[in-house]
């Protein structure tokens, strides 16, 4: 299975690559400026986080939009990756009422897909200033927290998922399991 990590300049992009490698997946970090042809052989892609404020600095998110439009494989957006895909499909972003840096208590609203076989509440780590204010049509919220109402989303029509927190860092509980759940989705989709 081949899963590319699209690099949006996150501090933890390389961690995403490492977790995937540890899960024995063929993986590679690809800059977000690469044309779609470069990644069209993937079984799935992960859109990494990054420093850009997606709402005001979308140019730094490179070709993420093209990937979302052309992909016929599952996509997981993390942090800025989730914000970008939400906005791309018609959602609204804005500064978080309470920015989150570090530990967040996650409440899972839908125990399927990414959160399959996971507890209803567990600790995750986040690091973001902005958040998704309104999810796009055809999407639903799958997890939330006290300080951020949209911690995870999924599309109801395509295998597209997003998490505002960072499943790739050591301090996030069940992080590797969330990635494994994504890989299971990819296997089932193939």
């Amino acid at each position: 299975m081949k899963v590319y990590v699209i690099d949006n300049g996150g501090q933890w992009t390389h961690r995403e690559w490492r977790v995937l490698r540890n899960l024995k997946v063929d993986t590679e970090i690809i800059p977000n400026t690469a044309p779609f042809d470069r990644i069209s052989d993937a079984d799935a892609i992960v859109l990494s986080g990054g420093a850009p404020s997606v709402a005001s600095d979308a140019a730094r998110m490179g070709n993420n939009g093209e990937y979302l439009d052309k992909a016929d494989f599952p996509i997981l957006g993390i942090c800025a990756g989730m914000q970008f895909l939400s906005e791309h499909f018609g959602g609204v972003l804005g500064p978080g009422a309470m920015p989150e840096f570090g530990k967040v208590e996650l409440k899972v609203l839908c125990k399927e897909d990414l959160f399959r076989d996971l507890p209803s509440e567990f600790n995750v780590w986040a690091s973001h200033n902005d958040e998704v204010k309104t999810v796009p049509e055809g999407f639903e919220v799958t997890a939330a927290s006290q300080s951020c109402p949209v911690e995870a989303v999924r599309s109801l029509t395509r295998p597209i998922y997003g998490v505002q927190f960072h499943p790739e860092v050591e301090n996030t509980e069940n992080g590797p399991k969330i990635f494994q759940n994504f890989l299971d989705i990819v296997s089932e989709y193939r």
Binding site: Q11, N32, F101, G102, W125, E170
Partner: protein, 315 residues
């Protein structure tokens, strides 16, 4: 074969191919550079010279400890005392990024000189993933310029070889244990050394203060861990703050310096939580620092932030 064993075989092969001539390795005695040195030495033998720079910014007894480790690993090595020039160039500098850039540049000048004498065209460095991630690039913000990446001057007369580029500290430690490198369990120590733990002006006196305070923090925490009072943190040290505050010592007014204690738990350095040091251990550190360093320090504070939003070191 374990992951570490496979890594060693591949790294040695790749170093053999990449270094047809002579090389020097920038060796601080930390686990990253010691592992790189041992790998490179396995690949090219005596065509490798390990260079340790005594910047004057090292911890108590560090240079002697590193000398012992280099000797024990049978490496061809040289210890260069460059403290005069480091203190001269850092005089009056307080901006953390400027500090790191100056140090990176000075390191390279020393290495260039040593390389010329030895006839080396290659510079091996123990750069690991967090170093280049945090140093930033076209894609990423600069969080801090690590001396071996972001601190490097653009023009450099040597080809850089970095065998640990994709690894994190926990993976390097596994490789170190496999290679029998004693530094495997040493706590991480930044390349710019005590300079990034001294938020005040860089002088021999200020570095002396933070060196002694770091020694006390390390000593007390190691003792507490050995007694089972706490787990040994990932990293633990003291920081000298650029503030003065009022105190009272033996009925006399004092107006002295402040030391911050920092200790964190982490696996890879990319996220970290502050260590919950037992109060009696904190108490012992504060009392020992303020009593034995009474002429300099009259206040000790404890850093209780995680990474993010903080970083592990203060600069």
């Amino acid at each position: 074969m374990s992951g570490a064993e496979i890594f060693i075989v591949r790294a040695v092969d790749s170093l053999k191919a990449k270094i047809p001539g002579k090389a020097i390795i920038a060796c601080s005695g930390g686990v990253d550079s010691m592992v790189s040195a041992v790998l490179a030495s396995r690949a090219i033998g005596d065509r490798l010279l390990a260079v340790y720079v005594d910047t004057g910014l090292m911890r108590k007894g560090e240079t002697e400890e590193v000398r012992g480790m280099l000797r024990e690993m049978g490496l061809n090595f040289r210890i260069v005392d460059a403290s005069e020039v480091f203190f001269a160039m850092l005089k009056g500098v307080t901006d953390p990024e400027k500090k790191r850039k100056i140090i990176g540049e000075l390191f390279i000048r020393v290495f260039e000189k040593e390389a010329k004498e030895f006839g080396a065209e290659y510079l091996v460095q123990g750069t690991i993933a967090p170093d280049w991630i945090e140093s930033g690039d076209g894609m990423r913000d600069t969080i801090k310029s690590h001396h071996n990446v972001g601190g490097l001057p653009k023009e450099m007369g040597m080809t850089v070889v970095e065998p640990l580029w994709d690894l994190y500290k926990d993976e390097v430690r596994e490789v170190a244990r496999e290679l029998g490198v004693k530094a495997s369990e040493r706590q991480p120590f930044p390349g710019p050394a005590l300079s990034v733990r001294c938020l005040d002006e860089i002088t021999r006196e200020n570095i002396g203060i933070v060196r002694e305070a770091c020694f006390i923090v390390e000593d007390e925490i190691k003792k507490a861990a050995a007694q089972g009072k706490m787990e040994l943190p990932w990293q633990y040290f003291a920081v000298l703050l650029p503030t003065r505050s009022v105190g009272v010592q033996g009925d006399r007014r004092a107006y002295g310096r402040t030391i911050a204690i920092r200790a964190v738990c982490s696996v890879d350095g990319m996220t970290a939580t502050y260590s919950k040091i037992p109060l009696d251990v904190l108490d012992a550190m504060a009392t020992r620092i303020t009593n034995t360093m009474k002429d300099q320090v009259n206040r000790v504070v404890y850093d209780i932030t995680n990474k993010p939003p903080s970083t592990i070191e203060w600069e």
